[in-house]
Amino acid sequence: MDDIENQLSELFETAASRLEPPVEDIVRVSTQLGRRRRARRNTATVAAAVGVVGLTAGVVFSVQHFGFGSVPSGTVAAGQPTADHSASIVASPRPGSPGSTTATRSTTLVSSTTSAVSRTTGLVPSTPESGPQVGAPLLTQFVSVYGLHAVRQNSTSIGVADFIYDDGHGQSEIIASVRAYSAALKSWNAYTCVNFNTTDAGSRPSGAPIPSCTTVSTIDGHTEYVMVTGDDGSGFYDYEVNLFTTNNMVVSLDAGNGVPQGANVDVTRAVPPLSLSEMQAIVADPAWLEYVDPT
Protein backbone atom coordinates (compact mmCIF):
# COMPACT_ATOMS: atom_id res chain seq x y z
CA MET A 1 0.00 0.00 0.00
CA ASP A 2 1.47 3.29 -1.09
CA ASP A 3 1.32 5.67 1.83
CA ILE A 4 2.71 8.77 0.21
CA GLU A 5 0.04 11.04 1.66
CA ASN A 6 1.01 10.23 5.23
CA GLN A 7 4.67 10.29 4.33
CA LEU A 8 4.35 13.70 2.74
CA SER A 9 2.79 15.18 5.84
CA GLU A 10 5.60 13.74 7.93
CA LEU A 11 8.26 14.90 5.47
CA PHE A 12 6.89 18.42 5.55
CA GLU A 13 6.66 18.44 9.32
CA THR A 14 10.25 17.27 9.75
CA ALA A 15 11.68 19.50 7.05
CA ALA A 16 9.77 22.54 8.31
CA SER A 17 10.93 21.99 11.87
CA ARG A 18 14.52 22.43 10.73
CA LEU A 19 13.89 25.80 9.13
CA GLU A 20 14.69 28.89 11.16
CA PRO A 21 12.77 31.72 9.49
CA PRO A 22 14.33 35.19 9.82
CA VAL A 23 11.31 36.55 11.63
CA GLU A 24 12.91 39.76 12.92
CA ASP A 25 14.10 40.73 9.45
CA ILE A 26 10.71 39.93 7.97
CA VAL A 27 8.91 42.09 10.53
CA ARG A 28 11.29 45.00 10.00
CA VAL A 29 11.39 44.88 6.21
CA SER A 30 7.69 44.24 5.65
CA THR A 31 6.83 47.17 7.92
CA GLN A 32 9.19 49.45 6.00
CA LEU A 33 7.88 48.25 2.66
CA GLY A 34 4.31 48.62 3.87
CA ARG A 35 4.90 52.23 4.88
CA ARG A 36 6.41 53.02 1.50
CA ARG A 37 3.65 51.22 -0.30
CA ARG A 38 0.97 53.11 1.60
CA ALA A 39 2.68 56.42 0.90
CA ARG A 40 2.91 55.58 -2.81
CA ARG A 41 -0.72 54.53 -2.87
CA ASN A 42 -1.80 57.77 -1.25
CA THR A 43 0.24 59.74 -3.77
CA ALA A 44 -1.25 57.76 -6.65
CA THR A 45 -4.76 58.36 -5.34
CA VAL A 46 -4.18 62.10 -5.30
CA ALA A 47 -2.65 61.99 -8.77
CA ALA A 48 -5.58 59.99 -10.10
CA ALA A 49 -8.03 62.48 -8.64
CA VAL A 50 -6.18 65.34 -10.30
CA GLY A 51 -6.20 63.43 -13.55
CA VAL A 52 -9.93 62.89 -13.43
CA VAL A 53 -10.50 66.60 -12.88
CA GLY A 54 -8.28 67.36 -15.84
CA LEU A 55 -10.15 64.95 -18.07
CA THR A 56 -13.50 66.33 -17.01
CA ALA A 57 -12.36 69.79 -17.90
CA GLY A 58 -11.52 68.64 -21.38
CA VAL A 59 -7.81 69.24 -21.02
CA VAL A 60 -7.08 65.86 -22.52
CA PHE A 61 -9.08 65.07 -25.61
CA SER A 62 -7.42 61.94 -26.89
CA VAL A 63 -8.52 59.61 -24.18
CA GLN A 64 -7.82 55.95 -24.54
CA HIS A 65 -9.50 54.99 -21.33
CA PHE A 66 -12.97 56.30 -21.86
CA GLY A 67 -13.94 54.85 -25.20
CA PHE A 68 -11.54 56.39 -27.70
CA GLY A 69 -8.24 55.12 -28.86
CA SER A 70 -5.48 55.91 -31.26
CA VAL A 71 -5.16 53.68 -34.25
CA PRO A 72 -2.42 54.22 -36.81
CA SER A 73 -3.83 54.98 -40.21
CA GLY A 74 -0.79 54.55 -42.35
CA THR A 75 2.67 53.16 -42.59
CA VAL A 76 5.03 54.53 -40.00
CA ALA A 77 8.61 54.90 -41.05
CA ALA A 78 11.24 53.43 -38.81
CA GLY A 79 13.40 55.66 -36.70
CA GLN A 80 11.05 58.62 -36.70
CA PRO A 81 10.53 60.27 -33.34
CA THR A 82 7.17 59.83 -31.67
CA ALA A 83 6.12 63.37 -32.42
CA ASP A 84 6.26 62.68 -36.14
CA HIS A 85 4.02 59.69 -35.75
CA SER A 86 1.27 61.71 -34.21
CA ALA A 87 0.48 63.26 -37.56
CA SER A 88 -0.59 59.94 -38.94
CA ILE A 89 -2.57 58.86 -35.92
CA VAL A 90 -6.31 59.40 -35.93
CA ALA A 91 -8.69 59.06 -33.04
CA SER A 92 -11.32 56.49 -33.74
CA PRO A 93 -14.09 54.98 -31.68
CA ARG A 94 -12.86 52.05 -29.70
CA PRO A 95 -15.07 49.02 -29.85
CA GLY A 96 -16.52 48.10 -26.49
CA SER A 97 -15.15 48.74 -23.08
CA PRO A 98 -11.47 48.54 -22.16
CA GLY A 99 -11.92 44.87 -21.35
CA SER A 100 -13.99 44.06 -24.39
CA THR A 101 -12.71 41.74 -27.05
CA THR A 102 -15.95 40.78 -28.67
CA ALA A 103 -16.52 43.79 -30.86
CA THR A 104 -15.10 44.20 -34.35
CA ARG A 105 -11.35 44.48 -34.28
CA SER A 106 -9.03 46.50 -36.42
CA THR A 107 -6.22 44.06 -35.90
CA THR A 108 -5.62 43.32 -39.54
CA LEU A 109 -5.16 46.95 -40.47
CA VAL A 110 -2.99 47.71 -37.48
CA SER A 111 -1.03 44.53 -37.85
CA SER A 112 -0.10 45.27 -41.43
CA THR A 113 0.89 48.75 -40.41
CA THR A 114 3.12 47.63 -37.58
CA SER A 115 4.58 44.92 -39.75
CA ALA A 116 5.73 47.66 -42.03
CA VAL A 117 7.50 49.23 -39.08
CA SER A 118 9.46 46.12 -38.36
CA ARG A 119 10.21 45.41 -41.99
CA THR A 120 11.56 48.87 -42.55
CA THR A 121 13.68 48.78 -39.42
CA GLY A 122 15.33 45.60 -40.58
CA LEU A 123 15.30 44.46 -37.00
CA VAL A 124 15.71 40.78 -37.57
CA PRO A 125 17.98 39.01 -35.12
CA SER A 126 20.23 36.35 -36.46
CA THR A 127 20.95 34.64 -33.15
CA PRO A 128 18.98 34.01 -29.97
CA GLU A 129 21.45 36.13 -28.01
CA SER A 130 20.59 39.19 -30.03
CA GLY A 131 16.89 38.89 -29.17
CA PRO A 132 16.64 41.29 -26.22
CA GLN A 133 18.82 43.88 -27.87
CA VAL A 134 16.76 43.81 -31.02
CA GLY A 135 13.37 43.20 -29.42
CA ALA A 136 13.59 46.24 -27.19
CA PRO A 137 13.63 48.82 -30.01
CA LEU A 138 10.98 46.82 -31.83
CA LEU A 139 8.58 47.04 -28.90
CA THR A 140 9.42 50.69 -28.48
CA GLN A 141 8.56 51.28 -32.14
CA PHE A 142 5.24 49.54 -31.73
CA VAL A 143 4.14 51.35 -28.60
CA SER A 144 5.37 54.73 -29.78
CA VAL A 145 2.59 54.59 -32.35
CA TYR A 146 0.23 54.89 -29.40
CA GLY A 147 2.03 57.84 -27.86
CA LEU A 148 4.19 56.01 -25.35
CA HIS A 149 7.85 56.74 -24.82
CA ALA A 150 10.42 54.66 -22.96
CA VAL A 151 11.45 55.89 -19.54
CA ARG A 152 13.88 53.11 -18.83
CA GLN A 153 14.63 49.48 -19.54
CA ASN A 154 14.32 46.97 -16.72
CA SER A 155 17.48 45.13 -15.84
CA THR A 156 15.54 41.94 -15.11
CA SER A 157 14.28 41.37 -18.61
CA ILE A 158 12.26 38.20 -18.97
CA GLY A 159 11.57 38.35 -22.66
CA VAL A 160 12.63 40.19 -25.73
CA ALA A 161 11.73 43.50 -24.07
CA ASP A 162 10.91 44.72 -20.57
CA PHE A 163 10.42 48.49 -20.35
CA ILE A 164 8.86 51.26 -18.35
CA TYR A 165 6.82 53.48 -20.65
CA ASP A 166 4.94 56.70 -20.13
CA ASP A 167 2.24 58.40 -22.14
CA GLY A 168 2.01 61.42 -19.86
CA HIS A 169 -0.72 59.88 -17.72
CA GLY A 170 1.40 57.58 -15.55
CA GLN A 171 4.22 55.12 -16.01
CA SER A 172 3.60 51.49 -16.89
CA GLU A 173 5.73 48.41 -17.15
CA ILE A 174 5.24 46.66 -20.48
CA ILE A 175 6.82 43.29 -21.19
CA ALA A 176 7.01 41.42 -24.45
CA SER A 177 8.17 37.84 -24.60
CA VAL A 178 8.39 35.16 -27.23
CA ARG A 179 9.00 31.55 -26.32
CA ALA A 180 8.33 28.00 -27.35
CA TYR A 181 5.34 26.55 -25.55
CA SER A 182 7.27 23.86 -23.74
CA ALA A 183 5.89 20.76 -22.06
CA ALA A 184 6.55 22.39 -18.69
CA LEU A 185 4.52 25.47 -19.58
CA LYS A 186 1.80 23.28 -21.01
CA SER A 187 1.70 21.20 -17.83
CA TRP A 188 0.31 24.14 -15.88
CA ASN A 189 -1.59 25.68 -18.77
CA ALA A 190 0.53 28.82 -18.58
CA TYR A 191 -0.65 31.83 -20.60
CA THR A 192 -4.16 30.43 -21.06
CA CYS A 193 -7.59 30.91 -19.50
CA VAL A 194 -7.36 27.56 -17.70
CA ASN A 195 -7.13 28.22 -13.96
CA PHE A 196 -7.63 31.93 -14.59
CA ASN A 197 -8.55 33.55 -11.29
CA THR A 198 -11.39 36.03 -11.63
CA THR A 199 -11.19 37.43 -8.12
CA ASP A 200 -9.17 40.31 -6.78
CA ALA A 201 -6.80 39.92 -3.85
CA GLY A 202 -7.44 43.50 -2.81
CA SER A 203 -9.34 46.42 -4.25
CA ARG A 204 -8.67 47.61 -7.79
CA PRO A 205 -8.64 51.27 -8.75
CA SER A 206 -11.92 52.93 -9.52
CA GLY A 207 -12.60 52.72 -13.25
CA ALA A 208 -10.59 49.54 -13.79
CA PRO A 209 -12.38 46.79 -15.71
CA ILE A 210 -13.19 43.57 -13.88
CA PRO A 211 -10.94 40.52 -14.33
CA SER A 212 -11.70 38.51 -17.45
CA CYS A 213 -10.10 36.04 -19.81
CA THR A 214 -11.36 35.58 -23.35
CA THR A 215 -10.26 33.04 -25.93
CA VAL A 216 -10.09 34.42 -29.46
CA SER A 217 -9.43 32.58 -32.72
CA THR A 218 -7.58 34.84 -35.11
CA ILE A 219 -8.04 34.94 -38.86
CA ASP A 220 -4.55 33.44 -39.20
CA GLY A 221 -5.64 30.30 -37.38
CA HIS A 222 -3.86 31.19 -34.14
CA THR A 223 -5.43 31.18 -30.67
CA GLU A 224 -5.24 34.20 -28.47
CA TYR A 225 -5.94 34.63 -24.75
CA VAL A 226 -6.94 38.14 -23.84
CA MET A 227 -6.91 38.93 -20.13
CA VAL A 228 -7.58 41.53 -17.52
CA THR A 229 -5.87 40.01 -14.49
CA GLY A 230 -7.04 40.18 -10.91
CA ASP A 231 -5.57 42.82 -8.64
CA ASP A 232 -2.57 41.54 -6.71
CA GLY A 233 -3.60 43.07 -3.39
CA SER A 234 -2.05 46.45 -4.00
CA GLY A 235 -4.25 47.77 -6.80
CA PHE A 236 -1.90 46.57 -9.52
CA TYR A 237 -3.16 44.46 -12.40
CA ASP A 238 -2.30 43.74 -16.02
CA TYR A 239 -3.77 43.61 -19.42
CA GLU A 240 -2.30 40.50 -21.03
CA VAL A 241 -2.51 39.20 -24.55
CA ASN A 242 -0.97 35.81 -25.26
CA LEU A 243 -0.94 34.68 -28.87
CA PHE A 244 -0.40 30.97 -29.50
CA THR A 245 0.86 30.42 -33.01
CA THR A 246 0.35 27.32 -35.08
CA ASN A 247 4.08 26.50 -34.80
CA ASN A 248 3.91 26.14 -31.00
CA MET A 249 5.25 29.55 -30.04
CA VAL A 250 3.59 31.99 -27.69
CA VAL A 251 3.93 35.72 -28.13
CA SER A 252 2.99 37.48 -24.91
CA LEU A 253 2.48 41.13 -24.08
CA ASP A 254 1.79 42.42 -20.56
CA ALA A 255 0.92 46.02 -19.76
CA GLY A 256 0.38 47.03 -16.14
CA ASN A 257 -1.40 49.94 -14.54
CA GLY A 258 1.82 50.85 -12.79
CA VAL A 259 5.37 49.85 -12.16
CA PRO A 260 6.28 46.90 -9.94
CA GLN A 261 9.72 47.47 -8.45
CA GLY A 262 10.79 44.54 -6.41
CA ALA A 263 8.64 44.47 -3.34
CA ASN A 264 7.10 47.84 -4.16
CA VAL A 265 4.51 48.69 -6.76
CA ASP A 266 3.71 52.16 -7.97
CA VAL A 267 0.10 52.05 -9.07
CA THR A 268 0.09 55.05 -11.36
CA ARG A 269 -3.21 54.84 -13.20
CA ALA A 270 -6.61 53.17 -13.33
CA VAL A 271 -5.97 51.31 -16.57
CA PRO A 272 -2.85 50.37 -18.55
CA PRO A 273 -1.78 52.76 -21.30
CA LEU A 274 -2.57 50.33 -24.12
CA SER A 275 -6.02 48.94 -24.78
CA LEU A 276 -6.48 45.24 -25.27
CA SER A 277 -7.22 45.70 -28.96
CA GLU A 278 -4.01 47.69 -29.37
CA MET A 279 -2.09 44.94 -27.63
CA GLN A 280 -3.73 42.34 -29.87
CA ALA A 281 -2.53 44.33 -32.84
CA ILE A 282 1.04 44.43 -31.52
CA VAL A 283 1.35 40.70 -30.78
CA ALA A 284 -0.14 39.90 -34.19
CA ASP A 285 2.93 41.29 -35.90
CA PRO A 286 4.86 38.43 -37.51
CA ALA A 287 8.12 40.20 -36.67
CA TRP A 288 7.97 38.70 -33.17
CA LEU A 289 8.30 35.23 -34.59
CA GLU A 290 11.71 36.08 -35.99
CA TYR A 291 13.00 35.57 -32.47
CA VAL A 292 14.31 32.22 -31.37
CA ASP A 293 13.53 31.09 -27.86
CA PRO A 294 16.95 30.77 -26.21
CA THR A 295 15.54 28.47 -23.52
Partner: protein, 171 residues
Amino acid sequence: MTSRPGEDEFRQFVTAKAGQLFKVAYFICGDWHDAQDLLQTSLAKLYVAWQRIEQIEAADAYARKVLLRTYLSQRRLKRSSELPVDVHDLGARLVDPGTDHELHLTLVAALRMLPPRNRAAVVLHYLEGHSLAAIAEYLGTTESAVKSLNTRSLRQLRAQLGDTREVLFQR
Protein backbone atom coordinates in the same frame (compact mmCIF):
# COMPACT_ATOMS: atom_id res chain seq x y z
CA MET B 1 10.56 56.09 15.40
CA THR B 2 6.88 56.75 16.07
CA SER B 3 4.52 53.97 15.05
CA ARG B 4 1.67 54.67 12.66
CA PRO B 5 -1.87 53.84 13.78
CA GLY B 6 -2.32 50.10 13.87
CA GLU B 7 1.35 49.45 13.24
CA ASP B 8 2.01 47.89 16.62
CA GLU B 9 -0.79 45.41 16.03
CA PHE B 10 0.56 44.71 12.57
CA ARG B 11 4.02 44.01 13.93
CA GLN B 12 2.61 41.75 16.61
CA PHE B 13 0.68 39.83 14.00
CA VAL B 14 3.69 39.45 11.73
CA THR B 15 5.92 38.43 14.62
CA ALA B 16 3.46 35.71 15.52
CA LYS B 17 2.74 34.48 12.01
CA ALA B 18 5.86 35.13 9.94
CA GLY B 19 7.52 31.87 10.90
CA GLN B 20 4.73 29.68 9.56
CA LEU B 21 4.09 31.90 6.53
CA PHE B 22 7.78 31.77 5.71
CA LYS B 23 7.67 27.98 5.67
CA VAL B 24 4.80 28.08 3.20
CA ALA B 25 6.70 30.57 1.07
CA TYR B 26 9.89 28.53 1.24
CA PHE B 27 8.32 25.30 0.07
CA ILE B 28 6.40 26.89 -2.79
CA CYS B 29 9.36 28.99 -3.97
CA GLY B 30 12.06 26.43 -3.34
CA ASP B 31 14.55 29.14 -2.48
CA TRP B 32 15.29 30.91 0.80
CA HIS B 33 15.76 34.40 -0.60
CA ASP B 34 12.85 34.18 -3.02
CA ALA B 35 10.68 33.04 -0.11
CA GLN B 36 11.74 35.98 2.03
CA ASP B 37 11.11 38.43 -0.82
CA LEU B 38 7.73 36.90 -1.54
CA LEU B 39 6.65 36.98 2.08
CA GLN B 40 7.87 40.53 2.70
CA THR B 41 6.10 41.73 -0.43
CA SER B 42 2.89 40.02 0.64
CA LEU B 43 3.08 41.37 4.16
CA ALA B 44 3.69 44.87 2.84
CA LYS B 45 0.41 44.54 0.96
CA LEU B 46 -1.21 43.39 4.18
CA TYR B 47 0.19 46.47 5.93
CA VAL B 48 -1.66 48.72 3.49
CA ALA B 49 -4.91 46.82 4.03
CA TRP B 50 -4.36 46.44 7.76
CA GLN B 51 -6.81 49.07 8.97
CA ARG B 52 -9.60 47.49 6.93
CA ILE B 53 -9.06 44.13 8.61
CA GLU B 54 -10.86 43.82 11.92
CA GLN B 55 -10.20 40.26 13.06
CA ILE B 56 -6.91 38.44 13.41
CA GLU B 57 -8.38 35.37 11.68
CA ALA B 58 -9.25 37.51 8.70
CA ALA B 59 -5.70 38.88 8.65
CA ASP B 60 -4.28 35.36 8.67
CA ALA B 61 -6.44 34.30 5.73
CA TYR B 62 -5.79 37.55 3.88
CA ALA B 63 -2.02 37.14 4.32
CA ARG B 64 -2.16 33.64 2.82
CA LYS B 65 -4.41 34.75 -0.02
CA VAL B 66 -2.10 37.60 -0.95
CA LEU B 67 0.96 35.37 -0.58
CA LEU B 68 -0.50 32.83 -2.99
CA ARG B 69 -1.81 35.47 -5.37
CA THR B 70 1.55 37.18 -5.47
CA TYR B 71 3.30 33.84 -5.95
CA LEU B 72 0.99 32.71 -8.73
CA SER B 73 1.02 36.04 -10.58
CA GLN B 74 1.81 35.11 -14.16
CA ARG B 75 3.89 38.24 -14.45
CA ARG B 76 6.05 37.14 -11.53
CA LEU B 77 6.28 33.54 -12.68
CA LYS B 78 7.34 34.62 -16.15
CA ARG B 79 10.05 36.71 -14.55
CA SER B 80 11.26 34.20 -12.01
CA SER B 81 13.04 30.92 -12.37
CA GLU B 82 10.24 29.02 -10.71
CA LEU B 83 8.78 27.53 -13.83
CA PRO B 84 8.74 23.78 -13.44
CA VAL B 85 11.65 22.04 -15.02
CA ASP B 86 10.97 20.64 -18.45
CA VAL B 87 10.85 16.92 -19.14
CA HIS B 88 14.26 16.87 -20.75
CA ASP B 89 15.78 18.51 -17.65
CA LEU B 90 14.51 15.96 -15.18
CA GLY B 91 17.45 13.61 -15.46
CA ALA B 92 19.81 16.22 -14.10
CA ARG B 93 17.56 17.08 -11.18
CA LEU B 94 16.27 13.73 -10.02
CA VAL B 95 16.58 13.20 -6.33
CA ASP B 96 19.58 11.01 -5.59
CA PRO B 97 19.11 9.09 -2.35
CA GLY B 98 22.78 8.21 -2.31
CA THR B 99 24.09 11.74 -2.17
CA ASP B 100 21.21 14.01 -1.23
CA HIS B 101 20.27 13.33 2.35
CA GLU B 102 19.24 16.80 3.24
CA LEU B 103 15.59 16.27 3.86
CA HIS B 104 14.30 19.69 3.01
CA LEU B 105 16.46 19.88 -0.11
CA THR B 106 15.08 16.55 -1.24
CA LEU B 107 11.55 17.69 -0.70
CA VAL B 108 12.14 21.05 -2.35
CA ALA B 109 13.78 19.38 -5.35
CA ALA B 110 10.75 17.15 -5.80
CA LEU B 111 8.32 20.04 -5.34
CA ARG B 112 10.13 22.09 -7.96
CA MET B 113 9.11 19.57 -10.57
CA LEU B 114 5.46 20.40 -9.98
CA PRO B 115 3.73 23.29 -11.74
CA PRO B 116 3.39 26.31 -9.41
CA ARG B 117 -0.32 25.86 -8.78
CA ASN B 118 0.09 22.19 -7.93
CA ARG B 119 2.99 23.04 -5.66
CA ALA B 120 0.90 25.59 -3.78
CA ALA B 121 -1.94 23.12 -3.31
CA VAL B 122 0.40 20.41 -2.02
CA VAL B 123 2.09 22.74 0.46
CA LEU B 124 -1.20 24.08 1.79
CA HIS B 125 -2.63 20.59 2.20
CA TYR B 126 0.32 18.60 3.53
CA LEU B 127 2.30 21.26 5.36
CA GLU B 128 -0.54 23.33 6.73
CA GLY B 129 -3.34 20.79 6.78
CA HIS B 130 -5.87 22.95 4.98
CA SER B 131 -8.90 21.17 3.55
CA LEU B 132 -9.36 20.97 -0.20
CA ALA B 133 -12.30 23.36 0.13
CA ALA B 134 -10.16 25.93 1.92
CA ILE B 135 -7.43 25.59 -0.69
CA ALA B 136 -10.01 26.08 -3.42
CA GLU B 137 -11.00 29.32 -1.71
CA TYR B 138 -7.40 30.50 -1.56
CA LEU B 139 -6.72 29.62 -5.19
CA GLY B 140 -10.02 30.96 -6.48
CA THR B 141 -11.12 27.65 -7.95
CA THR B 142 -13.40 24.70 -7.20
CA GLU B 143 -12.85 21.91 -4.72
CA SER B 144 -12.96 19.31 -7.49
CA ALA B 145 -10.27 21.20 -9.37
CA VAL B 146 -8.06 21.14 -6.27
CA LYS B 147 -8.74 17.45 -5.82
CA SER B 148 -7.62 16.86 -9.38
CA LEU B 149 -4.49 18.98 -8.81
CA ASN B 150 -3.72 16.97 -5.71
CA THR B 151 -4.11 13.61 -7.43
CA ARG B 152 -1.83 14.60 -10.29
CA SER B 153 0.72 16.06 -7.88
CA LEU B 154 0.84 12.93 -5.75
CA ARG B 155 1.33 10.78 -8.81
CA GLN B 156 4.25 12.97 -9.87
CA LEU B 157 5.79 13.15 -6.41
CA ARG B 158 5.49 9.41 -5.99
CA ALA B 159 7.45 8.94 -9.19
CA GLN B 160 10.02 11.61 -8.36
CA LEU B 161 10.71 10.58 -4.80
CA GLY B 162 10.60 6.88 -5.56
CA ASP B 163 12.93 4.89 -3.34
CA THR B 164 14.15 8.11 -1.73
CA ARG B 165 11.10 8.08 0.49
CA GLU B 166 12.19 4.88 2.16
CA VAL B 167 15.70 6.24 2.64
CA LEU B 168 14.35 9.40 4.16
CA PHE B 169 12.23 7.53 6.65
CA GLN B 170 15.16 5.41 7.77
CA ARG B 171 17.11 8.47 8.83
